[in-house]
């Protein structure tokens, strides 16, 4: 197998009010189907290695995880090396279901924003209430970051993980760094 290459080769910038780092490669499988069908969620749970998340939530453990994407879509996360085996297993289990599973690992880019001002960096770019009491770790949100679609969750209170299309990786990296540039701190979430 050829060596996996991420969009930005693991670029990182820690010069601003938060650290922006490209992650990965990360194994990602999009699963579409009727989430009220037991066989579908059972197969997803087996592949993700975590319990089924509630609406707009995301469960992760190590490299594994499941994120709720829409009423008929899940994102299953795993080690990049295991994605082919996981996908084959998933497709086998869902052979008789009206469901679709696709490996999207190389079609996405993954970033982490970390530091005490992570919430502020995200609040500058996405129409999401980032108050610590409103958007808590475990919640999953599909939204936009400036001009591009992306999804993210809080790994912990000071770390956000963001997934976007690979084709806009450079844009998102630059935009996150602009929102985090030195001297741009508003202190919105540290005031109250």
């Amino acid at each position: 197998m050829s060596k996996p290459v991420t969009a930005l080769g693991g670029a990182s910038d820690a010069t601003g009010i938060a650290t922006v780092t490209e992650m990965g490669p990360m194994g990602m499988i999009t699963l579409r189907g009727d989430l009220s069908v037991k066989a579908v969620t059972k197969a997803a749970v087996a592949a993700g290695g975590v319990t089924m998340p509630d609406q707009r939530m995301c469960n992760t453990e190590g490299a594994g995880g499941i994120a709720w994407m829409s009423p008929d879509e899940l994102l299953i996360m795993c080690d990049y090396e295991h994605v082919h085996a996981k996908l084959a297993d998933l497709q086998g289990k869902l052979a008789k279901e009206h469901a679709l599973a696709v490996n999207v690992s190389d079609a996405r880019a993954v970033f982490r924003v970390s530091g005490p001002h992570t919430r502020e960096v995200i609040a500058k770019l996405a129409p999401v209430d980032m108050h610590p009491g409103s958007f808590t770790p475990g919640m999953f949100r599909r939204t936009r970051f400036a001009q591009v679609a992306a999804a993210f969750w809080m790994v912990d209170d000071q770390t956000a993980q963001i997934i976007c299309f690979r084709s806009v990786a450079q844009y998102l990296f630059n935009t996150l760094n602009m929102a985090a540039q030195d001297g741009s701190l508003v202190g919105h979430f540290s005031k109250a």
């Binding site: 707009r56 994407m69 009423p71 879509e73 129409p127 949100r141 599909r142 939204t143 936009r144 679609a149």
Partner: protein
Amino acid sequence: MLSIHCPNCGITAEETEFHAHGEAHLTRYGPGSTDDQFESYLFMRRNPKGVHFERWRHQNGCGKWFHVARCTMTLEVFGSYSAQTYAPPQEILDHIKDRRPGWNEGTT
């Protein structure tokens, strides 16, 4: 700026996370219809100053379609409802009549 609620995923966000797609509940005239019917389906829209029913999509979110009832003059949003319907549900109509006592469905 509008604050829109998506009934598919339950998110309420400002309008830039969504996209408006024009007047709702159009009758789709196709083969067998008259030229006038087809023309009205393609080109003629109500464009009212007041209560308006619209199709919206959660473009940067869950990706699903839904309906929104809002006022084009004050930008008040009366509510969202499922895309899988041919007409606004009664609770939305009741709420609009509550907010716009003189409003008559079908005249706008």
